[in-house]
């Protein structure tokens, strides 16, 4: 028995390089329906954003215009419409959303700008919305948010503002090394060895410059000493995360740290940080995205 799709009071959209996720929202912030597709920004030409969105949300639309609040790479120069970066220090949330040029009168699309830092040069698109969601739920938070992922972010938060941040290409390096380098023969695509992970984190923090040699050792140990693929996988992850922690030390040492992201990844970062004496808390990444989009929708409603 099929049911009529729920209408949305407004629509929340997380639109990254490789994914498109949408939620049919009620005015009170509850979720009526959700959907996703592989129509990420990376595969869409400018004129394909609107059809890709309609494919996913058309059943949620009523007769009049529905507000759609979107974050992520959809607002980049190669996206649907460019939502220029705001510069730190700044609030995570801004009322200056940018309207995307939708032709369908049922769509009123607003895109959340990314955040930039001039020096050291850095940018984020999408993570600022997760930060805004966390701050909306924890308005008095003063500390550091770490958002592990393809491009992990560490952001210093004070008085409701993003003070500074730094991006590490940790996740992308893991994907390239484990999937496309000579290590692909030695690193399993799944499986885990918590002890090997912890030891590698500790090795990398002690001697982070040796990374490129330790990477090759994984291949050599597989050839010479039958290193198992799941152990190699955990060790490669530990080396990369350990090097990130070594560099990000000013962010986490003696600070209140909250990890925001998918549970497998935040779990690894939490284990690594805990071994260094930090006591991170964890927040769910999707929940923070939705909380940030909701906060942006409310600010929009207040300002119009």
């Amino acid at each position: 028995m099929s049911s009529k799709p729920a209408k949305a009071d407004w629509i929340a959209v997380d639109w990254g390089t490789s994914h498109l996720r949408a939620w049919a929202m009620a005015a009170d912030g509850s979720v009526r329906d959700q959907g996703q597709s592989a129509d990420g920004m990376g595969r869409l030409s400018p004129d394909r954003f609107e059809p890709a969105l309609l494919d996913l949300v058309h059943g949620w639309l009523g007769g009049g215009p529905t507000k759609v609040v979107a974050c992520g790479m959809v607002g980049s120069r190669q996206g649907w419409t460019e939502a220029p970066y705001r510069a730190v220090p700044c609030t995570a949330l801004d009322t200056g959303l940018v309207r995307a040029p939708a032709r369908d009168l049922r769509l009123d699309v607003r895109v959340i700008p990314g955040v930039k830092q001039d020096s050291p040069a850095d940018v984020m698109r999408g993570e600022e919305t997760q930060v805004a969601g966390y701050i909306a739920q924890n308005p008095d938070f003063d500390g550091v948010l770490c958002l592990p992922g393809t491009h992990s972010k560490w952001a210093h938060i004070s008085a409701g503002e993003i003070v500074s941040f730094r991006t590490f290409m940790t996740g992308e390096m893991f994907a390239l090394l484990s999937g496309q380098s000579v290590l692909r023969h030695s690193v399993a695509t799944e499986g885990w060895d918590a002890g090997a992970f912890a030891a590698a984190v500790s090795d990398a923090i002690a001697k982070p410059e040796a990374l490129a040699a330790r990477f090759f050792s994984l291949r050599a140990e597989a050839l010479l000493h039958d290193l198992q693929g799941d152990t190699a996988r955990a060790r490669l992850s530990g080396l990369l995360i350990g090097a990130e922690l070594a560099a990000a030390k000013p962010y986490w040492l003696g600070q209140d740290v909250t990890l925001i992201g998918a549970s497998s990844l935040t779990g690894s970062y939490a284990a690594a940080l805990t071994a260094q004496g930090a006591r991170p808390t964890i927040a769910n990444g999707s929940a923070m995205t939705l909380a940030g989009l909701t906060a942006a929708y409310r600010s929009l409603k207040d300002s119009t």
Copy 2:
């Protein structure tokens, strides 16, 4: 006007993962002809090695068997025949070459074994032949050989032996990051900026743990400050080579260092090392391969 191909007294072969190079040699060690193809070990099943070799060298063969001396990945487990690693400390050259199972009676193929190190686990295949070539030409050398490349090697040489060595995945990381990561949008495929390279080497040596953040800065500086592609390319190379130098310091500090490789790469390493106060000398990579294969051929002749 075509000329009759030169016959070879013996054939030297450098057979890596992605290339096959062969030289028609005279008994006195001079080169009569040479050829190459893309039939690297990586694309050949075990039964395709002999045809791939014959394609390249058949014109050089006489009626009787011709000795072929080969180094590189052809001797790996996935190669034509496995030539098991010898363990350091060991001479760079060994008389224990492994015969490959050629059916054509005109071919008498011998494969040079690679070299392994148990701890830290490490392996080389092909570079030991370049080391042997260098030692053949410089029998009293006591110091360090650096062989930059996809997997850069640093080898400590004393009394004609490889005492220890270490491999860094520097070249492969450069290729993956510049060609397949988010940095591909910001890093040019050619062009150079010597000042940016030197500054990046120095930055990486001072703070090698910050690599993954400095990588992303190249993208952010391109977006925010119009960083040029050739500058980004030189800086990415400098960051990776600088991190390698930081880790390899025990190898080069206060040592006689010779760089063996292609001139573009040895030039970059020489610039980086010179800025650190070292005074490296440079030897040509292909010439050292050929010298090593020649030394192996002579030892073979002496022993049979």
